[in-house]
Amino acid sequence: MAFAEREIPGDGTLAATFKCPTCGRVIAMLTNPMETQLVSSLGVEIGGRTVPAEPFETISKAVVTGGPAWSSDAQERLSRVPSFVRGMVKKIYGDYAKERGITEITPAVMDTARAELGLEGM
C-alpha cells in the first residue's frame, strides 16, 4: 500500500487514501473532527510539508479571539495578511468593530476601518 492522497473537506474531518501499487485497490482512512484536531495540534501536515510552517500557525488559525464575527470574504482577506502580524491585525479590526457596535466584519468594514485608523496596507 502506498500513500495516495489527503483530503480536507472543510467540515473538520480528514481523509487519507492508500493505493496498492500492484492491484490498484484503494483504501481510505477517515478521521472524525476530534481526531483531526488532535493531529493538527501537533503542527504537522499529513502527506508531508511542502512549505515550512508559518510562524504562529496554530494560534492564528485556531485561536478564537472573541469579539465580532468575520464574514468569509473578510476572513479570506485576513488570511492574506502575513501570519506574524495576523493576530494583531485581527485584534485591531475587532477592537474597531467593538467600539462601534459592529457585529460582523466584512471587507467593507475593513476598508472603512483602514481609512479611519490610517492603516493603509493592512
Partner: protein
C-alpha cells in the same frame, strides 16, 4: 490485515522529520538565551505573575536582557503588569525594556481564550492545542539574545510538563508561595514534579508575607527540598526588595 509497519512506501508525511524540524526551530530561536526560568506555584493567586514581572524588571534595570513568556493562556496578566503597548508585534517591549509575549496580545480585550474545534470533545484536545501555542511562543518569537527568559506558568503542572517536552530539557524552576500551609501543600506538589523531571530548583519566593497570611511555607519547603528562600516579599513592597534577590 497489514499494519503500519508493513507500509512499503517511503513515509511521505515525514512526521518524525516534521516534529524534529519543530524542535530545531525552538532550539534555534532560543539559541541566544542564557537561562530559562519557569515560575511555578501549583496554586493560583499567590503572586506568580506579580513576582515574574517585578523580578524581570529588576533584572532588566541591572543591565540584563530579559524576556517574559506569559504561559498562562487563560489568565494572561503579564501585559498589564509590564504595560506593553496593546498592538505591538511579538515580542512586545514593556516597562524597563522587558520583552514579552502573551496570549493577551492575541485576544480581544477581556475575551477568554477559546479554540476552533469540535466543542463536544474539547476536553480531549484542548491541552494539546495549548501545548501547540506554547511551542509557537517558544519557536516563533524572535527573542534575540537574552540573559533570562522567565516563564510565568499557570497553576497546576501541565504547562510545566509540556515545557519540558518542547525544550527537550527541564528548565530551572523558581517557586512562589504565600506563607500558609495550604499554599505550601500545593507548591510542594509542583516542586516534587520539578525535581522528578530533573529541574534545577533556583529557590522559593515567599510572597504576601505579613499578618494577613500567617505560616511558615517558605522555610518548610526550603528544608524539605534543600532550596533557599531567595526573597520574602511583603504586601506592596518597596521597589528595592526585587533588586536584593540573588539571581543575576
Amino acid at each position: 490485515m497489514r499494519t503500519y509497519h508493513q507500509l512499503t512506501d517511503p513515509d511521505r508525511s515525514g512526521l518524525a522529520d516534521q516534529i524534529g524540524a519543530q524542535r530545531r526551530r525552538v532550539a534555534e530561536q532560543l539559541a541566544g538565551v542564557q537561562r530559562i526560568v519557569a515560575v511555578m506555584s501549583g496554586k493560583g493567586g499567590v503572586g506568580k505573575s506579580y513576582v515574574t514581572a517585578h523580578l524581570a524588571r529588576s533584572l532588566a534595570r541591572s543591565g540584563r536582557a530579559v524576556g517574559v513568556l506569559d504561559a498562562d493562556f487563560n489568565g494572561p496578566t503579564i501585559p498589564a503588569l509590564l504595560q506593553t503597548p496593546p498592538e505591538a508585534a511579538a515580542p512586545a517591549i514593556g516597562l524597563d525594556g522587558v520583552k514579552c509575549v502573551s496570549m493577551g496580545h492575541f485576544l480581544t480585550d477581556g475575551a477568554p481564550l477559546s479554540f476552533t474545534g469540535p466543542p463536544a470533545e474539547g476536553f480531549v484536545w484542548r491541552g494539546a492545542m495549548e501545548a501547540a501555542a506554547l511551542r509557537e511562543f517558544l519557536g516563533d518569537v524572535k527573542w534575540g539574545p537574552l540573559d533570562f527568559l522567565v516563564l510565568d506558568l499557570p497553576p497546576g503542572m501541565e504547562r510545566y510538563l509540556a515545557l519540558c517536552d518542547i525544550l527537550g530539557a527541564p528548565p530551572a524552576v523558581l517557586t512562589v508561595t504565600i506563607p500558609t500551609a495550604e499554599s505550601r501543600d500545593a507548591v510542594r506538589r509542583a516542586m516534587r514534579a520539578a525535581v522528578e523531571r530533573g529541574s534545577d530548583l533556583l529557590g522559593i519566593v515567599e510572597n504576601m508575607v505579613g499578618p494577613q497570611f500567617p505560616g511558615t511555607a517558605g522555610d518548610d519547603l526550603a528544608r524539605e527540598f534543600n532550596a533557599p528562600v531567595i526573597a520574602r516579599i511583603p504586601f506592596n513592597p518597596s521597589p528595592s526588595v526585587w533588586d536584593e534577590i540573588p539571581l543575576r
